[in-house]
Symmetry: C2
Amino acid sequence: MTDKISERIPSAERREQILEAASRVFGERGYFGATTDQIAKAAGISQPYVVRMFGGKENLFVGVLSRSLERLLVAFTRTLEDWKAEGSPAAAAAVVSDGTPVAGGHGEIGRRLGLAYVNLIEDRGLLLSLMQAFSMGQDPTIGAKARDGFLAIYRLLRDEAGFTPEQTRSFLAEGMLLNTLLGLRLPDEYGRDEAATELLECTFRTKLELVLGVAAENGAASAPAKAQGA
Amino acid sequence: MTDKISERIPSAERREQILEAASRVFGERGYFGATTDQIAKAAGISQPYVVRMFGGKENLFVGVLSRSLERLLVAFTRTLEDWKAEGSPAAAAAVVSDGTPVAGGHGEIGRRLGLAYVNLIEDRGLLLSLMQAFSMGQDPTIGAKARDGFLAIYRLLRDEAGFTPEQTRSFLAEGMLLNTLLGLRLPDEYGRDEAATELLECTFRTKLELVLGVAAENGAASAPAKAQGA
DNA sequence: GTCTATACAGTGATAGAC
DNA sequence: GTCTATCACTGTATAGAC
């Protein structure tokens, strides 16, 4: 490795590498706290090249945000398509099987969408840069983009999953709690703090009961551990 | 105003001024993005004085976080005391009057706590610096403090409001959604975007129905407007 | 497509005066 | 209790070479 000059690769591919690195750095340090140099190093290229390719830090953040929203929309859309292809049983069931009033309430499709969401935000860069964007409403460019994205998700859920406005709101609330628990790294506290353990089991049992339903036999500890990752 | 030298005031008072200013700046720019100089200017004093009084940027952020969590805990504790003093009707009603499964679910005390929370996070500095802290789980000092604070709130709700773990989780989820809507400045979109309007009315009708219940007659527009503030 | 060099503006923290 | 001066870095963006 002469190491100084990176391999010459197509710009589309390089662009994706930079976005991936930027997602992590923006996530950890925030928009203002992240530096183009940190991003460049994370992507294995020079700082001026990052700036040149995106025209500036703000454009780069907008790129990261667009990519995150796009991935989210695609994940939800695919989940909905699969569900419909299987012959979606009725619309989203408003009432839960076991009578729990709050936790479920979104029916089978709600569980599937929730699972798709959890899988997506295991990418901590994506999770954290979304969270950053959601706290930047005051920024003219980024704030507007973030609001648009959030509303696009709201509409998708309401219009395609058959959720009522109330169900949509509740589903989003659950998602925002997941964001917070993972942002806080609360799974690190699993098994070491009574409240954390209870909250995590309660959350992930509900969210993942579809796939991990049988995991109750394997010991409940494996469910929250699933969310720790890198 | 000779303007160069600030009035000589007691350190406790100055400390509070700095925390208030820091809360706003950290909220808007994030921990890494905020500068001690911006905070100093917002507080109307010199940058070295800020550093000297708190011993460094990290201590200052921890101070801001402690203050925010303290205010939140106090607000909830007072709300609970008032409620109990009035002769709290049963425990937290698990079932809602109008049959809505998700929105309420926390009974009278849930509505009161929700209202106390909304009032508190009208302070955008507090809201945003909490949100920042909740995305910093990876930081050894700040992350640990943030987790502790979040769990303290969880325990308070569960143990003092009589919530089940499920109800507590659901209440927190609602709070995290509120954070996001306000962080995004979604109220700016009220009346200008169909989905935003619906989501806000749905959210604030539920949260504020206690105080603004009769406001349905004044036109629903006034409810979300309440949350915009400075 | 990718780099080095560099201009110009901050940035946290310390020293020490008043 | 509060400031000015200042150091040693770090940050974005541009110019221009390969």
